[in-house]
Symmetry: C2
Subunit: 306 residues, 2 copies
């Protein structure tokens, strides 16, 4: 089952203690698609400027990513420049230039309104709502957001939450949205505002998924070397959605497995600079790491003590 | 199978945003024993001063805790006074008075040298080694330590590590001991210095157990309200060791279940002030939470994707 994603297609310049990149492929829709396409075909809606290295997108198209929904506008592409601290625990944004992204209005190519698995990447909640209005009858709508919209477009965001199935955010965003420090209370708050489920990513501390009855937890993969956390959250979303589109199901037990595929893609993302971490990953490598994740928390069954 | 623990028996004065206690039962051996005794009989080796509320220990004896190895010395008991930050993420030690603990020399009552499950709580590594010399032929020796000994008695601590089966510490201690920031690298370093296994507690982010081949991860319980983190690490150790003594096994699959019992006891510890959280806990409540823990990370089995 194909997957529709709307989000940013950007050029990233990243500085970490282990190296740097300049004007490399980045943006939420790119990380998402590179990860998700290991599991299901992906259709991308976004915008690039006239300076974007289109041949690099063409390369990625071979992986099963359809870029025909990415508009080519006159002007500069979206650029982000960031620098990580020595321990990769924090990052500073050095520069954000929206370029053509500032006037982006998502338009779905013909037939794409029939898409059933939708990921609304981190863009203006008004645009996210606008995309939803163009979709015929989706099976699953998952959205992301960020502090910028939580602060600046709170009402629009709350309106959007009423129309999505799952909110997928990081812990800082969940706390800011709910004004609650405790992550489980923050999740509970979100569940009261529309979504049937919430996924809260906690970086090196894994991710939780909550619905009204149950909580599921997946750890981060025990990596001894982390090179670049950029895009890990989007890759997580790509693995999560890619798995659900692949098995074409929104059943609760599949949601749990989807979390493991999300964590798997997140772990691949941080092992190399930019999207390059995915170049060498094939379905066998994905399955191997999924199994390693399952082993990581596997508790052998035993009779209860008495 | 009974369990032997050596550690501090103290009087704690704790300030949290939700309340405070003064001169309440505390210390590593007390938290450990209260948790472990839900699973197996516990024998305690320690020291108290002439001012200690012995009747409160007598109360706890009914739970299966044998205090006959706790020496009663002339002078003041070990006292600790601490204050937690608003979000319970950090704490400040306001006062530490060692009292009779300063000249403590552990002495095992007759017959206790036959103990097979040994927990060396956080005391001077020289005293921990001294206890080991008194033990006949243990099946399992687990030890804890703290920054104070890592800095002040490094050589003695490294000598101790060569003689223990498992080092059980928190993430800060693992980092300080190994001088490595990455927790998995820190664990690997520890495994090279003697112990066959290492358990690293990460507070609200759960705990990991590593041996040469595999890593196991147990999350913290998703609690919406945390009242007092004091003693959670010792209660974790009590649950871990209590389970292994109960099933009388050191098999790898039992070690994984022991981690879940550890996390279970840690979660009970933080739900109330001091050791009181355990007053209302019975074996049924323990099994119920263990099951909830197992559900929290349970990944439904599926065929690999192809």
């Amino acid at each position: 089952m194909p997957l529709l994603v709307v989000g940013s297609v950007a050029l990233d310049s990243i500085f970490t203690p282990f190296g740097e990149t300049a004007d490399a492929l980045g943006g939420s829709a790119v990380y998402f698609s590179v990860a998700a396409s290991l599991l299901a075909p992906v259709k991308v809606v976004g915008v690039i400027g006239s300076d974007y290295p289109v041949h690099e997108l063409d390369q990625l198209a071979k992986r099963g990513i359809d870029w025909t929904g990415v508009e080519r506008a006159e002007g500069e592409s979206f650029r982000w420049k960031g620098k990580y601290s020595y321990d990769l625990q924090s990052r500073e944004t050095l520069e954000t230039r929206l370029g053509v992204f500032a006037s982006f209005r998502p338009k779905l190519p013909p037939g794409w309104d029939q898409s059933r698995y939708i990921f609304l990447g981190n863009i203006d909640p008004e645009l996210q709502l606008d995309v939803l209005r163009q979709i015929h009858r989706p099976d699953l709508v998952v959205c992301d957001t960020m502090n910028y919209w939580i602060q600046g477009k709170r009402l629009e965001l709350l309106k959007l939450l009423e129309r999505v199935d799952i909110l997928l955010v990081n812990d800082t965003e969940a706390r800011e949205l709910s004004s609650l420090w405790n992550i489980h209370k923050a999740g509970r708050w979100i569940l009261k505002h529309g979504p049937k489920r919430v996924v809260i990513k906690q970086g090196e501390h894994g991710a939780i998924m909550m619905d009204a009855e149950r909580t599921f937890y997946v750890p981060a993969f025990p990596l001894e070397d982390v090179f670049d956390p950029t895009g890990a959250g989007d890759a997580f979303a790509g693995g999560f959605m890619g798995y659900l589109a692949r098995v074409d199901s929104t059943a609760p037990e599949q949601m749990r497995r989807a979390m493991v595929y999300g964590a798997t893609m997140g772990s691949f993302a941080v092992e190399a600079f930019g999207v390059r971490g995915f170049e060498s990953i094939d379905p066998t490598a994905v399955e191997r790491r999924v199994q390693a994740f399952v082993d990581l928390t596997h508790v052998p069954v035993a009779e209860p003590l008495r």
